[in-house]
Assembly symmetry: C3
Homo-oligomer: 343 residues x 3
């Protein structure tokens, strides 16, 4: 079979401004095709991701940590923003599915020869890559790439600007479900820099879609988005009030480069106001779990006693992250069937 | 079996000046052993490469993009000059043949410890690597390495200085044959910086060996080599005259770093004189195809309308590049037999 | 199975000062669990490593250079100190055992986000990595990591500060045994910068444990450790006296950055005093072999005539290095049984 000559007239845009499309993520049968954002995915589909991930948790515990679901497929990591940790979890997930992994620092390689992003995509498509895992510091980058890629390619968003980090949100949902069984009736508190956090945005959407009773955000006013009310959350400015009776306390990572600006006091002062300690945690539900997307700034977002304490499920989040990424990848590639996860 | 003690007295040369040897590329039975240059390979062998590549084009379209021809072999990318794109295609070709791939930035790693190139080669041989894919900015580097390597190693030239880029030339030949079926009767025009182009040099040799009717080069005088007449080409200084009735138009990539020097006018002026537009392309044969080794400088070598237009086969070149590199690698490793491709 | 919540209260130490523990390397049945140092391993275990490596030498010579012993395992290279050569041999050894390899430049990736070493380890454990291959410029780093890692992880020391480089020592022992059959009765001379050499320290321990008759060190006083007498060696300051009748002459690599300091004269002067030449080598036993851990500084530690001459086994050391690393990795992972090597 010969590759078709592309006949469309493509122009290389310099601004990434494609509007997010709800349907872009789904094929005509309503199955996952790209995984770009929690937005536009319903409870059934999110639950299918969690169920599929559940079926994969065993793989990482086996002697031979491999299933052949993506054998012979090429997963390409397109990381425009460095993240060893996220890249590593996607790489491990891909290898456990038996895929080949190509890791490209695309920004460096393409800009050095003056190639446009679209030309880079066209070339990777022509090389018969099957999936792009995209990390970019511009909001909307993964959507843009999914909009402009060839029909045989699936795109997974590994974090774009302040917009979305949907695999992180889903591994958080997975961890919550493991400990709390269901979302109904749960009070979840998210603490920290909501304004700049793609993680928080995706978590709030996922929690509301999955039916959590109450989602709270706790932050100083300078770190809350203007439209915070419209996100479907209760806003608190005080940590102890906000985590009162919470079943789940999610601490966000503080970007140290924002410290000392007008937005944020010193690290020490931040910890005084919003840092989690064993003492403060007593306000939460006695069975509350503590989460953090990592890496932790010990002594800033929380005490080491909390991070390493009995309520912390932070390392479980990392473990479950592999299974959740395996689920999203194999679903988007159409190599697992919806029933499979329940067998 | 014990590795033999090397008894030859080797000296580490500081200049890479080994003369190209016709026979170096072939074993005693006339089969491919190294792939260094089009020079010295006859029409039968070039055709065998194209036929073998033809048998591999299907692999990239399969669900499982793998054949086990090089399973357990170690292909080592020795890139002394950065080229993400070329390295990626060789890596994908190797993985589709089920080989293990080792990518070394040898210059950086060896110079930092003051090791000579020959010592580096000896060490990789002792580690039982099977193939070196060599990219180097010195003409003759791949020849030099092939001359000095152990008998069990095959060397593939992935571009050396201004000398040769034979896998690029062969993927171009493959693309031409796919569209034009045969080379006899074909008029092929090569446009751009002939002087500095290893791609052009290899293309001219391949086209003449495969029996193209007429090979033309089109360039300003400053970008033509002094011995251009001896290459077996017709020389044109005017684009429209040069592509008159051409069946194939190959645009070379312009090295931007040469712009503004005595050799070259501005990018704008270059485009005015040698840039390909839909209008100018009307001078060529109505079925003419347009090629480019990539990455394209849009608006310099050609308009986006041409690059993305119906006559462009630029992305097919990329696709076929994987199959051609699979063919060369497996032939040099002796894991495909001449008959296999015709079955 | 759910990952357990870690309940210990861990503190991130800033100094790596854990004392080496003899038993840390062995499990309750006396089998290898970590491979950190020659210290604390008895002759039987060292011999088992050599015997297992013997059974693997054939793998690198096969058409398909693979055995499935570590299929589905994840070997993580944690290199805090760059070493392309050592990393490459571990990577090839892991791939020949069919493992997946993750190469992390941990120092760069973790420090850039301010994560502590222990948090990095905890995360890699949570991702279900199976082995850490550690290279670090602090003595004791591998011990520290082995002390603090999860029970399912094995640690292999790929060189830590001035302390130990046990896989290098074992490949040297393997090479000696191949040529001399046994250690009893052997005179082995180690020449060069003993003071800063982790290689020398490990070699001396291994030679004495395996029963070599006499281990000699030859160096200027400034390059000998204060406690040299306690190492179980005979000390020589003169090269020709020291290699008299030696069966094995091991030349250490000279760190050029130490040249010109108070410790060392110029390279030229060093060669005059301690450089090995064919002439000087006549003092050794007529069947003496010459070894070097590589990369060689030609004309500093030895003449090219010696390096490439008939007594040099330097490239065999490299080849055997793969088999020895395969042995250590598969033994520490419990995937080869003691009897297997003798079959």
């Amino acid at each position: 079979m010969r590759p078709e000559t592309k006949t469309e007239n493509r122009k290389a845009p310099t601004v990434i401004d494609s509007p997010p499309s709800e349907n872009l993520q789904l094929d005509n049968n309503g199955r996952l095709r790209h995984f770009l954002s929690i937005d536009g995915l319903n409870r059934e589909l999110l639950t299918e991701i969690l169920d599929t991930a559940e079926s994969f948790t065993g793989v990482s515990e086996r002697t031979v940590k491999k299933v052949p679901l993506l054998r012979g497929k090429v997963i390409t990591n397109l990381f425009f923003e460095t993240s060893t940790r996220t890249r590593t979890t996607f790489e491990l997930a891909a290898k456990r599915l038996s895929a080949d992994v190509l890791s490209l620092n695309i920004s460096a390689s393409s800009t050095s020869k003056g190639e446009t992003l679209l030309d880079t995509l066209r070339n990777l498509e022509a090389m018969h890559c099957d999936m792009f895992v995209v990390r970019h510091n511009d909001s909307g980058a993964a959507n843009f790439i999914a909009t402009h890629t060839a029909p045989h390619i699936s795109v997974v968003n590994a974090g774009d600007g302040r917009h979305s980090h949907p695999t992180q949100a889903m591994l958080d949902m997975f961890t919550i479900r493991r400990h709390k069984q269901k979302f109904s009736g749960l009070k979840v508190a998210i603490v920290g820099d909501i304004l700049h956090s793609r993680v928080a945005r995706s978590q709030i959407l996922a929690l509301n879609t999955l039916g959590a009773e109450e989602v709270r955000v706790i932050a100083p006013k300078t770190l809350l988005p203007a439209d915070v009310a419209s996100l479907g959350v209760k806003v608190f400015y005080d940590l102890e009030q906000g985590i009162q009776d919470a079943d789940v306390v999610i601490m966000l990572r503080l970007q140290r480069e924002r410290m000392g600006s007008a937005m944020l006091p010193s690290e020490h002062e931040y910890f005084q106001l919003y840092g989690l300690t064993d003492e403060r945690l007593e306000a939460a539900h006695p069975d509350a779990i503590v989460m953090h997307p990592g890496p932790i700034n010990r002594g800033v977002e929380m005490d080491s006693q909390v991070a390493d304490g009995p309520r912390s499920v932070i390392l479980q989040q990392v473990s479950f992250g592999i299974a959740v990424r395996m689920a999203v990848m194999s679903m988007a590639m159409g190599t697992v069937t919806p029933g499979a996860a329940k067998r």
